[in-house]
């Protein structure tokens, strides 16, 4: 069939009434523009939801029930976990990573207590008691590495270092210091005797960190195996940090840990992240409804234009049918005209988006999804999201899909009318 010919015919039909075609474009291009803006925003929301689901609130802290888990603490608070728990939990569904920690509590000069934490290279340096809040930021020297395992090296908090006379200004990487110099004697009944072997050897300080918290800055990290050697804890661990693949699965994994290890506590912090992820996902659904609404609106305008066109060309359609146009031919003619009309509008909206998108994006977000959030969250969320109102292949694909759906919906009734038209009736039409 001469289907390409029918597309050319459809193109010319559009310009029989250029005023109407331009009016339809003027009405539908802004609709498609808002669709593009929403698609860009929705894409950023998707990324934000994904980031929250996979990177926040998906941590479970496991330790012996009601225990601090300090390797050198006497009494009922020093229960430890078997080291095998780490390997077993790592095999559970949805578990992305396990990080075993070994922690010792030490009294230091000035009636302070400090924590010595053994941690593997590559694992996060989480400060005890501050959890996710007290994040380690290295301000001098370097972090611990895999090559440091077994070596007498330490990553030291700023306050701890200050007590040893080390400041960021006078810090010389690799300098050996006797950590013993600042440790004071253990208090009977609190610390087990014979466990403080760390004090007797010189350690090289490889880096200084700060956490923004006085207690956090009073702590020290050692390579995991170094810690084990000094404190004699080869088969036990103090804590296990379990990273779950997505925040939605945290509760299931925590439940499995509690069921498998009744003597362990599994503390989760997923509620905040889950709430935010759900809120964003709800906004995403609102965005989807918006996109569908825009397509329906554009289709409505195209539908009206196509109805007018079909009504004006009843005799012509009858002539085409009398001359042997099949149902497929008339369908191609009507659909092509609708698709070209929607395509022109979509192309115009693409141009508008390329020019105006970056400047309109923030206002659009505020006027659409932003209205569902308290003012300060709308702004901060937009700042926090990596939303860029530039033309991307994903947006182009979305625009093409919207134009195709619009053209199909917009042509349905005209198509129905054209298909049911008998050539005799059409030729009688005046």
């Amino acid at each position: 069939m001469g289907r390409l010919f029918l597309v050319r015919y459809a193109w010319r039909n559009l310009w029989r009434t250029p005023g109407r075609t331009l009016l339809v474009m003027a009405l539908t291009a802004p609709v498609f523009l808002s669709l593009l803006l929403m698609l860009a925003t929705a894409g950023a929301l998707d990324r934000q939801v994904e980031r929250l689901s996979t990177g926040a609130g998906n941590l479970i802290e496991v330790r012996a029930r009601a225990s601090f888990g300090h390797v050198n603490q006497a009494g009922g608070l020093n229960r430890m976990m078997p080291a095998s728990v780490a390997k077993e939990v790592a095999r559970m569904p949805h578990v992305r990573k396990v990080e075993p920690y070994a922690v010792a509590i030490e009294p230091i000069a000035g009636y302070y207590m400090t924590l010595h934490t053994g941690v593997r290279a590559g694992d996060a340096r989480r400060l005890a008691t501050h959890g996710e809040v007290g994040k380690v930021q290295i301000i001098a020297g370097r972090d611990l590495t895999a090559e440091d395992e077994g070596q007498d090296v330490a990553l030291v908090g700023l306050e701890y270092a200050r007590k040893m006379g080390i400041t960021p200004e006078n810090f010389r990487p690799g300098e050996s210091v006797f950590i013993k110099d600042i440790l004071r004697d253990g208090e009977p009944g609190v610390l087990r005797t014979g466990t403080r072997t760390i004090g007797g050897r010189p350690f090289r300080v490889v880096g200084l960190f700060t956490s923004g918290y006085a207690f956090g800055d009073n702590q020290l990290f050692l390579p995991y195996t170094t810690f084990q050697r000094h404190y004699g804890t080869t088969d036990t661990i103090s804590k296990l940090f379990v990273t779950v693949d997505r925040v939605e699965n945290v509760a299931d994994v925590a439940r499995a840990i509690r069921a498998g290890y009744p003597n362990l506590d599994a503390a989760t912090r997923e509620d905040g992240a889950r709430f935010m992820a759900r809120a964003l996902a709800t906004m995403r659904r609102i965005g989807n409804i918006w996109v569908a609404g825009m397509v329906a609106l554009a289709a409505g305008v195209v539908l009206f234009a196509m109805l007018l066109a079909a009504d004006e060309r009843v005799r012509e359609l009858g002539t085409l049918k009398a001359l042997g146009a099949s149902l497929g031919d008339t369908a191609v003619a009507v659909l092509s005209e609708s698709a070209l009309l929607a395509g022109l509008s979509a192309a115009a909206s693409g141009l508008l988006y390329a020019v105006l998108g970056p400047s309109l994006g923030r206002a659009f977000f505020g006027a659409t999804l932003g209205v569902y959030l308290p003012g300060q969250y709308g702004e901060s969320l937009l700042d926090n999201m990596t939303v860029t109102y530039v033309f991307s292949p994903r947006l182009a694909l979305g625009l093409v899909a919207a134009a195709v759906i619009t053209s199909i919906l917009g042509s349905l009734y005209a198509l129905y009318q054209a298909q049911r038209l008998s050539p005799v009736e059409a030729l009688r039409h005046q």
Binding site: E316, L320, S326
Partner: protein
């Protein structure tokens, strides 16, 4: 009547009714008609006599309610709508009173249109369309749109369009109805010149067509009132 074996068109007891508001109109009342291949037939009758309905039934644009319609070997009364479309495409060329050219296509494109629907468009169809337009005296008017052509020129384009797929049958409904007498005479002459190659059936009030037709069928109230030899046969006999 011509023997059935030589018939291009054969109708047996064809009936067609229309609903017109509350009433039923008997457009065709048991029409029997055979038309020989290559003949030029004039259907003559007053408005409402059933001329156009008969043309539409013969051309496969409308279906008879009763009776058998055989055209160019095809039994139209047994065909599905899709088969009727294919039949029209391959076997029939239509010429309308109002020309019915597609306004945003050129004369050449209008002529090629049925070939496009038949899937036969290409260089050959283009050359044939050009030759047909030359034959009807429109060389130099190929790129003109209908609005740039006179009524007579538009009807010539319509005749060329009717011939592009080499149909067995050309059906013309009042082809001179919208033309002045001089232009109408030229169109009559052109249609008559098709005789022999195609069977031509013309519904008309125009007596000039009756003079060039091989046969004149007079219709009244949905039936054949009179069937007589036309001037065309007498002319052929004389030559």
């Amino acid at each position: 009547m011509m023997p059935a074996t030589e018939s291009a068109v054969r109708l047996r007891k064809v009936r067609k009714r229309y609903r017109l508001g509350e009433s039923i109109v008997e457009a065709l009342r048991g029409v029997d008609l055979s038309i020989a291949r290559g003949a030029v037939i004039a259907l003559i009758g007053p408005s409402g006599s059933g001329k156009s309905t008969l043309l539409h039934v013969i051309g496969g644009m409308d279906r008879a309610d009763q009776g058998a319609v055989t055209v160019a070997g095809g039994e139209l009364h047994k065909m599905t709508p899709a088969q009727l479309t294919a039949f029209r495409r391959a076997k029939v060329g239509f010429v309308f009173q109002a020309f019915n050219l597609i306004s945003n296509l050129t004369a050449l494109e209008n002529v090629i249109l049925p070939a496009e629907f038949a899937g036969a468009a290409g260089r050959e169809a283009r050359e044939r369309a050009t030759a047909l337009l030359n034959r009807v005296g429109l060389d130099g008017r190929l790129r003109h749109r209908p609005s740039q052509l006179s009524g007579g020129e538009q009807q010539r384009v319509a005749i060329a369009r009717a011939l592009i797929n080499r149909p067995a049958l050309v059906i013309a409904d009042e082809p001179t109805g919208n033309l002045d007498s001089k232009t109408g005479a030229a169109i009559v002459k052109l249609l008559a010149s098709l005789a022999g190659e195609q069977t031509v059936i013309i519904a008309t009030h125009d007596e000039r067509i009756a003079r060039v037709a091989d046969r004149v069928v007079h219709l009244a109230d949905g039936g054949i009132e009179r069937d007589e030899t036309g001037g065309g046969r007498a002319q052929k006999a004389a030559t």
